[in-house]
Every structure is written in structure tokens, then in C-alpha cells.
């Protein structure tokens, strides 16, 4: 792994088209600004892993049987969680 030291407002170029700027540093938090072409996907890593884990829980045959599930009624009030 390449390790670089940057100060606030300094940047790193990844290739010619992706620029990562250190916006702010406060304690153990770093705010980064990312300038990249629209085609480049930029995500928080833990979100990607959360989705991967959920997909693994959701794939048949780990998932239960739909035939025993009550019908969905879109008119019923929903919980906002």
C-alpha cells in the first residue's frame, strides 16, 4: 500500500482524472473532497460491504419460503425506520 502524508487543502491525483483533496482534519476525522469523472463510482467502503452482506442473507436458498408469507397490503401504514 502506498502511504502519503497530506496537509489540509493538499490533494492526491489518482490517474489524470481523479483528484482527492483533504478538506478538513478534526481529531480522528478527515473530510475528503473527491473530483472524478461521472463514470467513476465513489462509495464509502462500509456501505458496499453492508450491501454485500445483506445480499448474502437474501439469496435463495438462505432465504425463507415466500408461499407462507402473508400478502402485502400497500395501503397499510408503514413504519419509518
Amino acid at each position: 500500500m502506498l502511504i502519503l502524508t497530506r496537509k489540509k487543502d493538499e490533494a492526491i491525483l489518482i490517474g489524470k482524472n481523479v483528484r482527492v483533496v483533504v478538506i478538513d482534519v478534526k481529531g480522528d476525522q478527515v473530510r475528503l473532497g473527491i473530483v472524478a469523472p461521472k463514470k467513476v463510482e465513489v462509495y464509502r467502503e462500509e456501505i458496499y460491504h453492508a450491501i454485500k452482506q445483506e445480499n448474502t442473507c437474501a439469496v435463495f436458498p438462505t432465504t425463507g419460503d415466500l408461499t407462507h408469507v402473508p400478502s402485502l397490503d400497500p395501503k397499510l401504514k408503514e413504519k419509518k425506520n
Binding site: 461521472k38 465513489v42 450491501i51 445483506e54 435463495f60 402473508p70 402485502l72 397499510l76 408503514e78 413504519k79
Partner: protein, 146 residues
């Protein structure tokens, strides 16, 4: 064409039900060919892998379980499936159905997008603050009797 499915055995499907996921589904990247099927339950659909018969996902329209759901995604997600108008997309959520039905949930953070025009699909990652487990048993017809 005839295909093998995990839930229904061998069935006949129309070419229009075949969806190609260029990037696969997150965590299942090698499998790119799927068919979209109606399930035996209204409002639920099955996304069956053609490459791996035992892999299938239950899908639901997220707006049915969360009326204020908003699709917030990167342009890269739309570009990947050749879509210039999000209005023309089919949007689904993958359902997680544990043995305890009351814990049924759907993944609002990783919506499945399907471009109806070219039958390309993609699992995107929402930029909004949605959850991978949105529990929705209270939307099930019998839930108030339990």
C-alpha cells in the same frame, strides 16, 4: 426458452424477461445473466440467476413498502445500463426473508435498477441514508392479527 429455477423447477420464459447485469449483483459478481419472474405472491418478484440455478433473489417495489422512498444514485449507475432518464427505470429492492416472517425486510440502500429499453440491470448503491434492512411486516395484510 426453458430455464431451471430454484423455486419453480423448469419453466418457460420469454426473451423479454432476460436481464443482463454487466457488473453482476454485489457479492455475486460472476453471475450476470438473470430472468425476472412473477412470484406466487402479488407484489413480489423473483430474480433468478441463469448462471447459477440455486441463486435467486426476491424483489419488491420499494415504493410499496416505503412511500417516501427516493432513488438517489450516481450518474455512473445510469450510464452503466445506458439509461438517460431515471423515470424509465424499473426499481426494485431485494427482500430478505428469514424463517421468522415478522423480520421480513428489504434493502433500500442497494436498489436493483432495470432499464426496460435494453434489459440491462444493475445493483446501485444509494447515496441517501437508507438501510439494508428496512423491516416492513406491518405492511403485511395479516400483521395486525398477530
Amino acid at each position: 426458452m426453458k430455464i431451471n429455477t430454484a423455486s419453480f423447477g423448469e419453466i418457460e420464459v420469454d426473451d423479454k424477461q432476460q436481464i443482463y447485469f454487466p457488473a453482476g449483483i454485489i457479492g455475486f459478481e460472476p453471475y450476470k445473466n438473470y430472468v425476472l419472474l412473477d412470484s406466487e405472491k402479488e407484489h413480489f418478484y423473483i430474480l433468478q440467476s441463469l448462471d447459477q440455478v440455486k441463486n435467486s433473489f426476491i424483489l419488491i417495489n420499494p415504493y410499496l413498502v416505503r412511500s417516501d422512498y427516493v432513488l438517489e444514485i450516481l450518474d455512473a449507475d445510469l450510464a452503466e445500463i445506458g439509461c438517460d432518464d431515471p423515470q424509465k427505470l424499473l426499481v426494485f429492492s431485494i427482500v430478505t426473508l428469514p424463517n421468522d416472517i415478522t423480520k421480513i425486510s428489504c434493502n433500500l440502500l442497494g436498489p436493483i435498477l432495470i432499464n426496460k429499453k435494453n434489459l440491462l440491470g444493475r445493483q446501485s448503491i444509494s447515496l441517501g441514508n437508507w438501510q439494508t434492512k428496512h423491516f416492513f411486516f406491518e405492511k403485511m395484510a395479516q400483521s395486525n392479527k398477530v
